[in-house]
């Protein structure tokens, strides 16, 4: 029997094939909503997230007739950057419309490939404190220095240290008899004219040479004359001295990358997260609403009154959600709340150590990514 017969039993028309695409409410050329959800959102269930992969293959939806390819002009139109917070030390901004591979590349470059200056060689003249030489040298290396690394060059093994690639600091601390004191990083004095320690020369008649050969003083340069080079934080504890102990040393700082050693990393850290989206799947009322608001430690939910003394829960601040999943833990909560992440909206946070302001750090990271790509491209051709 023909299933498509009318109830009245009109058998005149043959079995007409009808296509689901002719139905008025299915949009042509776009993905159906469940596939759109799968493509643009990560759904975080109570046990694990699903739909985490990026469906970027351009022929992915070819069988439905939807073109999944991304063109440069589409990307240029949809890409947005919004700065949320910008202080001297840290910055929070949103990048909308990029792929996680790019976001991760920026994060990796910020942490390990933006160059900085840090103390590498420590020439210790006198150390009678309880802090051993190597421990003191290690601590000095980790002190962040407020010197713009773009004004300096790298020092390789066979170069002589001169004013273009080295910064020299001096530390001389003594402790009076019967007292104790702490040596802070503000006691690192910048020597713009270079090293003052004299090298032991073989011939007695040659001119005494120091460990660096500065041809001109570093504070002749305009950038340094107003803003002298110093550690970016003053109160970093370097050592503690007891009675009659003394430290006298000279430290040479050079340019390097975070890849070589973490002391050359310009960010305290840099991280990103995807924009959270919190949905209430059904109306949450009264006591259940109160419990929901109580459960969330980030105060994402709020109560609103809808008259007749009834209350309802709404999502007030989804951006603050840290995905602790307290709201979906337990019986029956997964049907009420759905936690999601928007796959192409990244909230970046960059915390600088004081070397450069965070917005400069990010622009440097973009330039470095460009350079890396240029290098690979030039080798190919």
């Amino acid at each position: 029997m023909n299933e498509k017969e009318n109830k009245g039993g009109n058998n005149d028309e043959p079995n007409k094939k009808f296509s689901i695409w002719d139905l008025p409410d299915v949009p042509m050329g776009q993905l159906p909503p469940h596939l759109q959800l799968q493509k643009t959102r990560v759904v975080c269930k109570a046990d694990a997230p699903i739909h985490t992969d990026n469906i970027s293959y351009s022929g992915a939806y070819a069988s439905i007739g939807v073109d999944n390819s991304v063109h440069l002009d589409l990307f240029r139109d949809n890409f947005k950057v919004n700065v949320i917070r910008l202080t001297k030390e840290d910055m929070e901004f949103d990048m909308i419309g990029i792929d996680p591979a790019l976001a991760n590349a920026f994060r990796r470059i910020l942490i390990s490939e933006v160059p900085t200056m840090a103390i590498e060689k420590v020439l210790i003249a006198y150390n009678t404190s309880v802090v051993q030489d190597e421990v003191l040298a290690h601590r000095l290396g980790l002190v962040p220095l407020k010197a713009d690394p773009r004004l300096f060059e790298y020092l390789s093994a066979n170069d002589t240290p001169n004013e273009k690639n080295t910064i020299v600091f001096k530390l001389h601390a003594t402790c009076k008899r019967g007292e104790r004191r702490t040596v802070y990083s503000e006691e690192l004095k910048w020597l713009p004219k270079g090293s003052e320690l004299i090298k032991e020369a073989g011939q007695a008649d040659s001119k005494p040479t120091t460990y660096t050969s500065f041809t001109c003083s570093q504070d002749m340069l305009p950038e340094f004359s107003e803003d002298p080079i110093s550690p970016s934080e003053d109160k970093i504890i370097l050592a503690k001295l007891g009675s009659k102990q003394e430290i006298e040393l000279e430290a040479h700082a050079v340019k390097g990358l975070g890849k070589t050693h973490a002391k050359w990393s310009p960010v305290a850290t840099a991280w990103y997260r995807m924009l959270p989206e919190v949905l209430l799947l059904e109306d949450v009322e009264d006591e259940v609403a109160e419990e929901l608001v109580r459960r969330c430690p980030d105060k994402v939910f709020d109560i609103e009154d809808i008259g007749h003394g009834k209350k309802r829960a709404t999502v007030a601040r989804p951006r603050d959600c840290r995905l602790c999943r307290e709201c979906v833990r337990g019986e029956g909560w997964e049907e009420r709340v759905e936690l999601r992440r928007v796959k192409d909206h990244f909230i970046f946070t960059v915390e600088s150590t004081g070397v450069l302001p965070p917005e400069v750090l990010f622009t440097e990271a973009v330039k470095i990514l460009e350079e890396k790509c240029e290098r690979v491209i030039s080798e190919l051709s």
């Binding site: 390819s69 590349a105 990796r108 690979v376 080798e379």
Partner: protein, 77 residues
């Protein structure tokens, strides 16, 4: 003791080329690119961009060993 120097991660030694290219003998229109002294930063981006191209059938990258600083990108059109 056996760890390589940290600067080996990004300094390309004399004699080796930064990018080398080998065609795949068994599959038509497929090749492997070996990029020296690069890692996930570049590899993931190139792989992502290759996926967006309509003519690409297969694109992937890997680091054969974390202590050997190179990536192999395999592309098939």
């Amino acid at each position: 003791m056996n760890a390589p120097d940290r600067y080996e991660r990004f300094v390309v030694p004399e004699g080796t080329k930064k990018v080398s290219y080998e065609r795949d003998t068994k599959i038509i229109n497929a090749a492997s690119f070996i990029i020296e002294r690069e890692e996930h930063t570049i590899g993931n981006i190139v792989r992502m961009q290759l996926h967006l191209d309509e003519n690409v059938l297969f694109a992937g990258y890997k680091l054969p060993h974390p202590l050997q600083y190179k990536i192999i990108i395999r592309v098939s059109a």
